[in-house]
Amino acid sequence: MSSIVSYGSYIPRFRIRVEEIAKEWGENPENIKSGLFIHSKSVPGPDEDVLTISAEAAKNALRRTDLDKSKIGAIYVGSESHPYAVKPTSSILVEALGLSYDIHSADYEFACKAGTAAMQNVMAMVDSGQIENGMAIGADTSQGAPGDALEYSASAGGTAILIGKNGFADFNATLSFTTDTPDFWRREGEKYPSHGGRFTGEPAYFKHVLTGAKKMMEKMGTKPEDYDYAIFHQPNGKFPTRAAKMLGFKDEQVKDGLLTPFIGNTYSSSMIIGLSAVLDKAESGDRILGVAFGSGAGSDVFDMTVNDRVKSLKRERAKGVMEQVNNPIWIDYATYVKYRGKIIMRGA
């Protein structure tokens, strides 16, 4: 059975508050904060992208284990903002992390659940004995068009999950639920994504998240109270909170993995950065439900149990999620648009 051997996250230090964005577009920040349940979001620096964010998250994961890097047989990166349209992020990571060249590598895309799709593939390769260990990364520097509701939430961050045998958190099961649902998309060559407004809620997010979670609990014969932690994809703070309530989870099970109110939606890292925050404090015996959602649309669901090997995990060797959340550099809207390339520069 495959399990989590190590994990690590990276959140850019730059942050912008909802008030800064709202004042430029004549909106009431209190309406945004109460409507979306978002207070601020992370912003990548001008020299950061999915490759650099993935590298830092992966380095944090490698710091927490003494695993010989040559034993990593696969590296997959899920993102919807890979730096190149053609040239894999994952191959650059092989060199940047000093991994063996005898490695499977590929980039994945499935809106916000590309990182968990990568996890499922690594799990399958470990379970089938093709590889001993593999790394799955979900990272994004997501874009929201100026003035669009997404501008309040589209943020940046990444999480790397190192999967192998004899890790500290066992995967009890995983499943997916997929339909053709046009809730959010970006056409080839377009800079900003489009979305279906209110249509993104019921037929997309809630249908896939609720169905995926229910199918997992059916499969495992579990109820919400059997889980110590539940993490849901978090495009904003409101959707996962409501999904948890509809499924019967309590706030105490959800709060530790809910980060969007502070750092925004990190897209391909959204659910797994919540998982990373939970793994920062989880103890032996804790059972975790993780439900990722990707527009287009589908959900990937994971049922996990932390085992005794968590006691020998070297968590302190890398910065935890909340340590990074609580170390911001606040920027104004002008700096934000400059860093995000929304200003047309000479020669650009």
Binding site: R13, F14, G45, P46, D47, E48, D49, L51, T52, A55, E56, P83, Y84, I92, E95, A96, L97, G98, N327, I329, K338, Y339, M345, G347, A348
Partner: protein, 134 residues
Amino acid sequence: MSEVPRFWRESRHRYRLVGTRCTNCDTLYFPPRVICPTCRRESVGKMKEEEMSGVGEIYSFTVVHDGLEQFKMQIPYVMALVKMKDGPLVTAQIVDCSPEEVKIGTKVTATLRKVRSEGKEGIIQYGYKFTICP
């Protein structure tokens, strides 16, 4: 002319701070050297690649107010000489901080960042920069 071949040859050194150690006199060099300037012919065939720890402290620094075109977004930014724990002195940009936070002796750690790119169509060059340790 494209810098792709040169960048590709040096990528592992720039991504992971890989230098070369003269196994004759045990000195570590960065950027890597083919021959040790001290041991000369004695070092031929004895230079071994070695990845540095990525940890160091500010030896000296300057604040750039009139930088290169590609760094215009980041002005004012800090360029520093970083004394690596492993020995070499490395020139690098210090990021994610204001110039006021940088002092001689400040502990720093390496981070992988975009350094430059050949326009919108060309290759993106990644390499080491440093951030201040909390």
